[in-house]
């Protein structure tokens, strides 16, 4: 039995007295798409930041392909094979789309010429190639989100973390992004996706993990989770216990 790609072992992250992530454990196997959902402030992005190295967990460990990576800096994890996008997109606005992607490719291809060849391939794959010479800052939100995915893919990652890549897009753009995510899965990447739009999560995920107030309240197939009383309570706010 091969190691899971990511194993999160009772990870806790506190900010002052606030438990942003509290004793969360789950694992992601090779080739899976895991949906991470939960109401606003549930700790999804915090968990993303822990896996990608932006935060060090207060307690607990994150294992990437069997090795403890908790507390390693993001740039090291990026070269090890964890690619991520940001909910609030972070393009290099003053540089061209091409240069944005070349910068990401440099981690795999240190020579600029090789990195540029690779960048063109990845841009072709994600369908942003016709914007190569535009300034990244001039793209629309949809374009910038696609650029985020392109940059994450240029790292040739093993695990791709997608943080709300369809939020704010119109229905047509949402469909195109879903298509792209499926294409990424076909490349045998493992994907962890945070999303509020249930249509996306239900369509894409093999399994869903639900967070609420930092704790994991459910995990399972999308259908099961959608019918889980705890999940319904978290989203709809039934006040059973107070009554």
């Amino acid at each position: 039995m091969s190691e899971p790609i990511i194993r999160i072992d009772s990870v806790t992250k506190t900010f002052g007295g606030l438990h942003a992530v509290d004793q969360v454990s789950f694992q992601i196997d090779q080739g899976e798409i895991i949906g991470l959902i939960g109401p606003n402030g549930a700790g999804k992005t915090t968990l993303f930041n822990i896996i990608s190295g932006y935060y060090t967990p207060t307690r607990g460990h994150v294992y990437f392909m069997g090795k403890d990576i908790s507390g390693q800096p993001p740039y090291r994890l990026a070269t090890k094979g964890i690619g991520r996008t940001f909910q609030v997109v972070k393009p290099f606005p003053g540089l061209s789309v091409l240069d944005n992607v070349v910068i990401a490719s440099l981690s795999r291809y240190p020579k600029r010429r090789k990195a540029e060849e690779h960048a063109w391939e990845v841009m072709e794959f994600t369908g942003i190639v016709d914007r190569a010479h535009f300034l990244a800052g001039s793209l629309t939100l949809a374009g910038r989100k696609r650029l985020e995915i392109t940059k994450a893919m240029a790292l040739e990652p093993i695990l791709v973390l997608l943080d709300e890549v369809v939020a704010g897009l119109n229905p047509k753009e949402v469909d195109q992004t879903i298509e792209l995510i499926l294409k990424i899965r076909d490349q045998e990447k493992t994907i962890l996706i945070v999303e509020h739009i249930m249509r996306v999560i239900m369509n894409l995920s093999d399994r869903v993990v639900v967070l609420n107030f930092g704790s994991k309240i459910a995990e399972g197939k999308p259908k099961e989770v959608a019918n889980d009383p705890a999940v319904i309570k978290a989203y709809l706010g039934e006040e059973k216990d107070k009554a």
Binding site: Y75, G94, I103, S138, A142, G143, R146, A152
Partner: protein, 327 residues
């Protein structure tokens, strides 16, 4: 494009090589040498200030350190000048390395303030020490050969220019520092180590300043804390870079030539009004920031690029026949 650049550099370099034959009088050579010096200081400032986006108000410190290293080694150590210049550059680089670790964690105005204070601290240090001659400064043996200094300055500045051109415009390092400038935490997600890259850029920026300082000391043959550690050195390099265009190498070169020519003419014909010079310098920088935020070269090359992109866009829409919805 690249080949055309090489052609231009060669033409300018050869023209500069021949310059002393045409203008052989010491005054013209001195002006030309100083112009080259300012080009070197402006392009080296731009490595950290423009390309990496960390505005350094203490660049003059590296120039001063280079000048004093050469002064001390020649006068107290009895070393030969050619050995002292590389040591001046290396010392400046080493100090940038040490200073960079704490200061480059700071961003924006805080880094500027930290470096400005550091430059002042060095000035005070030199004033207090006896080995540097304190406020009296140091007198170096006069070597009255304007051509020697012109060619030496030309050599050092050209080597700096070409190496920086290679690193910033051709190699991957230029993209790395730009990614740090644009978004440091975004760059981390793509495998960039910001601390390492910023320190590399800082050292790279300090070394030419140190080398030039070393040459300056022997050339002018007198250095004191006010002349080599003065704010005006940093300020002028910054104004030249911003006026010419930050984040490029041609920009600061153009800025240095124009502003130095202006300064020289001003000094030559309007020296009665020298107090006005700093006011004009201030006005130039304010107007540039308002009306030409990308500087002369930045504005010009953006215009040329926009024409190129327009052409590219036409080719794309012809070949695909549709408008993409991502933009």
């Amino acid at each position: 494009m690249r080949r055309r650049n090489i052609l231009w550099f060669t033409i300018i370099f050869v023209a500069l090589l021949l310059l002393p034959i045409i203008f052989s009088d010491p005054f013209s050579l001195r002006i030309a040498t100083e112009a080259l010096m300012w080009i070197g200081l402006a392009i080296s400032w731009d490595v950290i200030g423009g390309y990496t986006g960390r505005v350094n108000f203490g660049h003059g410190a590296f120039f001063g350190i280079g000048a004093y290293v050469t002064g001390i080694l020649m006068m107290k150590g009895g070393w030969a000048f050619p050995i002292t210049v590389p040591i001046a550059g290396l010392t400046a680089g080493l100090i940038a390395l040490i200073v960079g670790f704490p200061t480059l964690r700071l961003t924006g105005a805080y880094f500027a303030i930290a470096m400005w204070s550091l430059a002042l601290a060095f000035q005070q240090l030199v004033l207090l020490m006896t080995i540097t001659g304190g406020p009296d400064g140091m007198r170096l043996p006069a070597f009255l050969n304007p051509e020697f200094f012109f060619y030496l300055m030309l050599g050092i500045v050209s080597i700096s220019f070409v190496s920086l051109w290679y690193l910033m415009e051709c190699a991957s390092f230029g993209l790395k520092v730009r990614s740090i400038r644009e978004d440091e935490s975004g760059a981390m997600a793509l495998g960039m180590n910001p601390t390492k890259i910023k320190i590399q850029a800082f050292v790279l920026s300090a070394i030419p300043a140190g080398l030039i300082g070393g040459i300056y000391a022997y050339w002018i043959s007198y250095i004191d804390p006010a002349s080599v550690f003065g704010d005006i050195i940093t300020d002028q390099a910054i104004v030249m870079t911003i006026f010419g265009g930050m984040g490029t190498l041609i920009g600061p070169t153009i800025g240095a030539v124009i502003l130095f020519a202006f300064k020289t003419l001003f000094w030559a014909y309007l020296s009665d009004y020298e107090v006005l010079y700093l006011i004009i310098l201030g006005a130039v920088i304010a107007l540039t920031v308002f009306f030409l935020p990308n500087g002369i070269w930045g504005t010009l090359s953006a215009y040329l690029d926009s024409r190129k992109i327009k052409k590219f866009g036409e080719v794309i829409s012809q070949s695909t026949g549709d408008d993409n919805e991502y933009v």
